[in-house]
Symmetry: C2
Subunit: 404 residues, 2 copies
């Protein structure tokens, strides 16, 4: 019998045992009170690590350093800067990412190859290494530092995204936690984002990587803010075993771990979209009855990322023809006369034919902060859910002057 | 030696010999003075026709009727309504599209199967056939009716898009013309659009279809306004032979025809993007040195359709990291250290490294109504050009209230 998964109030990435974190203001981003832009997440014991990364052909060397650390088999933690993506700066980018990891390793007293590194921010300018060298000593590692770390990775986000859950296994308590940042350049296929996940379970590397891949495909890879994909996307999961619980594939406890990871990543993915640049509404798109799960994902992603759907929902405009258009252009198999369509549980179309809907009640239902779209393709059993956000005038204003 | 291609001042789809056109206001769209929403383009002689169509799985039955007419081998013309897409309305859509073609055929005295039909506008409402039946008799066919026809196909467009060119072949004059409408749901892979092309050359069907496919791939399929793809896209090319000139594949005159078609479609594609919803700037993206032409097209389309590039250019923000991001996510092969990047001829990056650019002069160069981006991948010889437009706050406002 699977154990119940409980959300820990005010949880953070240091909720699991044996993790510390801290952050400081290095001066990489423009100063405002309480701003932090350089953070470290650290495990007191060596961890097993798993990661998924951007598929963009132009990749930040910080991602490369993280991949190398994870491939090395022993990861102790990650250092993250916001404000500068450390991307498209030639060979200097790799040198700087390595030095950043080494600086963190130095203050933590561990081998440099065990530290991962991430960067997020403007592309095409070099990391201000002088500032980072000056600031590295100011980071105080603490078992309560998870919230500060979560703040240090933000760029245009307006709020942190954090969650921790726990479940019992073998009479002990396992904790799993995560934080994430958005909130632009976000589109499926490694949604443009950073997320750090921690657990005090002991998990072998193969199971950890496999279960992370499965969960990311149905969470972070199913969200869209602006259709663009960044050069720096990273999801990093660290398992340090401090709980004394070992989890394996194919066991009830292993399955509970996967369920907990799905819960954590779903929460972070949804919160990331909800905090999309200029966004005020979360759009949840569910596709059922597709020929396959991959078809359902294609269709849900197509609707959740359609600019014309996003702008219509911004205006509470039940222009469902755009949803049909986005389903049709997705590449997923469909038969028009089989399609059923719902907005907020109100049936708009059945068997491919529009239903005479009381338009005012439909518009009224769209005023809230979440809009749910359900498409029943009725040709198979594939199902998937994706998330997007409304596109507002503020999004355009904001993105017209990001560097100027 | 190829003949010179000359632009005809104030040309229209009735500039080629033997074509007539006309339009009327049927009441499908909201009334404003001078508005027309139902048009007919007609050839006095049977034509050879070629077409390219939307690849959306949800297709307007009007497109189906057009495909059937073209497949029939004899097309006399096309009837077009704006305001209603005749899409997602079940079997009634096909019945109505057929009746629309029949009504036109009736007043023109030709076989119904020789008339194509197109619809553009809101998805999910039935064509108001009563209005169309009432209005059909009011359309006056005239050899000067091309401009009226061009107006009748518009939806959110602010101006008509029209051009006619001519060249000499065998001592005679061949004329080729076109009109088109945008200006939303526009993205490569049959850009969402309608375009009608006419010529008085005699061209066999195979060559006509082949050359249209080649030209559409490098013109209409290389533009983007909002990343969405419509259910009604149609490009229809009618060749009626009225000039007395027969053109064949592999001849100098045939090549001139292809060049003329490229000139006409490039003009219409660019004008369509320039008139994109809320757009004030044309963005021209050229990719050179790609591994293949298809890679160059992928990369150019990715940049031209990136929301973050579109919004940055809207604000005259030289945030070229977003261009690099969009190149990298395109799927095209590239090697970072080989990339050169230019905005309006100003070199931003060479050998993958940023050039110290005088930022103010770069911003100044972006104030105009056209912004040119050139990416040199330097790994092969594939080249392509794509077009997009800036994304403005007006675009969002407009698309938040399209049906309400």
């Amino acid at each position: 019998m699977a154990s119940e998964i409980t959300v820990i109030p005010n949880g953070s990435v240091t909720s699991p045992q044996g993790f510390t974190a801290g952050a400081t203001y290095a001066g990489i981003r423009a100063y405002t009170p309480d701003k932090v832009d350089l953070g470290i997440l650290f495990s007191e014991q060596p961890t097993t690590a798993a990661g998924t990364y951007s598929t963009n052909k132009i990749l930040s060397p910080s991602v490369t350093v993280t991949k190398e650390s994870v491939a090395g088999g022993v990861t102790r933690g990650v250092i993250v800067n916001s404000g500068c993506a450390n991307c498209a700066v030639g060979d200097q980018g790799y040198t700087d990412a390595q030095e950043m990891a080494s600086l963190a390793a130095g203050v933590l007293g561990v081998d440099p190859s065990t530290m991962a590194a991430s960067s997020t921010g403007i592309i095409g300018v070099e990391l201000p290494m002088g500032l980072i060298r000056n600031a590295i000593g100011n980071i105080e590692q603490s078992p309560d530092g998870g919230h500060d770390f979560a703040r240090s990775i933000l760029t245009t986000d307006t709020v942190t995204k954090e969650i921790a859950v726990s479940f019992s296994a073998g009479g002990k308590r396992v904790t799993l936690a995560g934080c994430a940042k958005g909130s632009g350049m976000i589109h499926p296929n490694m949604a443009t984002m950073l997320s750090y996940l921690t657990t005090d379970a002991q998990v072998d590397a193969a199971f950890l990587q496999e279960t992370l891949g499965v969960v990311v495909d149905s969470t972070f890879n199913m969200i869209d803010i602006d259709g663009d994909s960044s050069t720096n996307d990273t999801v990093l999961l660290l398992a340090n075993g401090a709980s004394g619980v070992t989890l394996s594939k194919g066991t009830p406890e292993g399955d509970t771990f996967t369920a907990a990871l799905l819960e954590v990543c779903t929460h972070l993915a949804r919160e990331m979209v909800r905090d999309g640049e200029g966004a005020t509404k979360l759009i949840e798109v569910t596709v059922e009855g597709a020929e396959s799960v991959s078809d359902a994902r294609l269709a849900a992603r197509s609707v959740a990322s359609s600019i014309l759907v996003k702008t219509a929902i911004h205006g509470n405009d039940p222009n469902w023809g755009r949803i049909i258009m986005a389903l049709g252009k997705s590449g997923a198999e469909m038969v028009e006369k089989n399609i059923g369509l719902y907005i907020n549980d109100i049936c708009i179309m059945e068997s491919g034919l529009p239903i005479p809907v009381f338009r005012e009640s439909l518009i009224a239902s769209m005023q809230g902060t979440e809009v749910r779209i359900l498409a029943k393709l009725n040709i198979g059993s594939g199902a998937a859910t994706g998330w997007g956000c409304n596109m507002s005038e503020e999004f355009v204003t904001f993105n017209s002057a990001y560097t100027t």
